[in-house]
Symmetry: C2
Subunit: 223 residues, 2 copies
DNA sequence: AAGCGTCGTTCTGTCGACAGATTTGACGAA
DNA sequence: TTCGTCAAATCTGTCGACAGAACGACGCTT
């Protein structure tokens, strides 16, 4: 069964594949993406390729030159910092909104996530830690009760994802990060929106600082 | 000269026109928008119409049914409230970021805007007040130094715009709203990011409350 | 060797067409 | 009348084609 779910249109498939290539770093900033080339690559006509590019443009993954041509968007660390400022604020808002809404089951699930993250970090299991962190945030997104907020954050996370590919993904989480999650969780258990928001903003901002520092180090290494 | 600037593609023109129709309320929620129909309306092929719909979908103005068909997105007041929660937070962030960046000329321009708003309100000049408010916010957007934030806010404002068409646009600003602007301005003059942020969040939230109340009243009138 | 115009190539924007799927509406049965 | 059925009408997803614009390489001029 080569296609378990061909429920996706060709445009969807092209979109996802290009997006994955962008997130994995296979496509480098500045690289041109032409419709005929992509069409050939996916064995389709230009229509699906064109639609995929339109979407990627809307989401900020590619830029359109005045001529109408498309290239992979630049990866500017300063821009990443701006993205993170917004993201920190919105994640903080999500925490604040979720604080009074989280049910016991949610809080328990989040507690488990943090515990998982803790042991993963102690075992140098980076992907496990990332998965646990993902779960933590997913509960917040699901329960914060604000759809536009969730989709905005998803869009931001997508944009940020491209930068992650530049640095070894190891070390996204460490003991400090685990502690920060515990503090957020504590505030949520206490139903304290202000503290939950503040802790979340601090957490995301610190994550940003770490990522930015690593990106700047890498940039210094490869001049 | 019927076309002063045909620098826009047919897809662009269609997009703008449909968007305007959506913002003005000419297109009602639930109404179907088919590509052939739009193509006919704009004397083009389906391609530009299709592209316009794709963009409108991405920006949340229209929804895509499982069948792939498109209809004008619903206008749910609860959803508007969610949008405003996010917007208030982001406008607050913009104010916070701008606080240390605003130059004297910017602060002066904003002062003038508030003064203009004041006299407009006193003269029952609704559109003048709106224009002044626009200027005030524009300075903030221009000077906050965070591109993603600006574009996110623009997107949010677009979505919110459709709701405005439902109520008589009169009374968007009143003496209270002017006072709120003055307080924001005061905080900015004092270079107090926390206060600027808090005042801005309060201002936007109260604007939301007024709009929501008016929408609910209207909904009660026309059952 | 740098600058510049020219020509072929490539690309985008747009068009019309077709197949498959969905929706509509008429028509007949209960 | 209400419901189910079936055929006509419509729509979307996709394709291939064409014109005009942009790009790139080449050779010519200075």
């Amino acid at each position: 069964m080569p296609e378990p779910a061909s429920k996706l249109s060709l445009a969807d498939e092209a979109y996802r594949e290009i997006r994955d290539a962008l997130l994995s770093g296979a496509l480098e900033p500045g690289q041109r993406l032409s419709e005929p080339e992509l069409a050939l690559r996916f064995n389709t006509s230009r229509s699906p390729a064109r639609e995929a590019l339109l979407r990627l443009e809307h989401e900020g993954f590619v830029e359109r030159l005045p001529s109408g041509r498309v290239r992979v968007a630049a990866l500017d660390v300063g821009y990443l910092e701006q993205l993170y400022v917004v993201r920190a604020n919105l994640e903080g808002l999500a925490a604040r909104l979720a604080a009074p809404l989280l049910r016991t089951v949610d809080l328990d699930a989040m507690t488990r996530s943090v515990d998982d993250m803790d042991s993963a970090v102690k075992n140098d299991d980076a992907s496990g830690a990332i998965a646990a962190g993902q779960q933590f945030h997913d509960v917040l997104m699901r329960e914060c009760g604000n759809e536009p907020l969730v989709s905005l954050l998803a869009a931001l996370k997508g944009r940020i994802g491209r930068f992650r590919a530049l640095v070894a993904s190891l070390g996204d989480y460490d003991a400090d990060r685990v502690l920060e999650h515990r503090r957020i969780l504590e505030a949520l258990f206490a139903r304290d929106p202000d503290r939950a928001q503040a802790e979340m903003i601090g957490h995301v901002s610190r994550s940003a600082t770490v990522l930015v520092r690593r990106l700047r180090e890498r940039a210094a290494d490869t001049p």
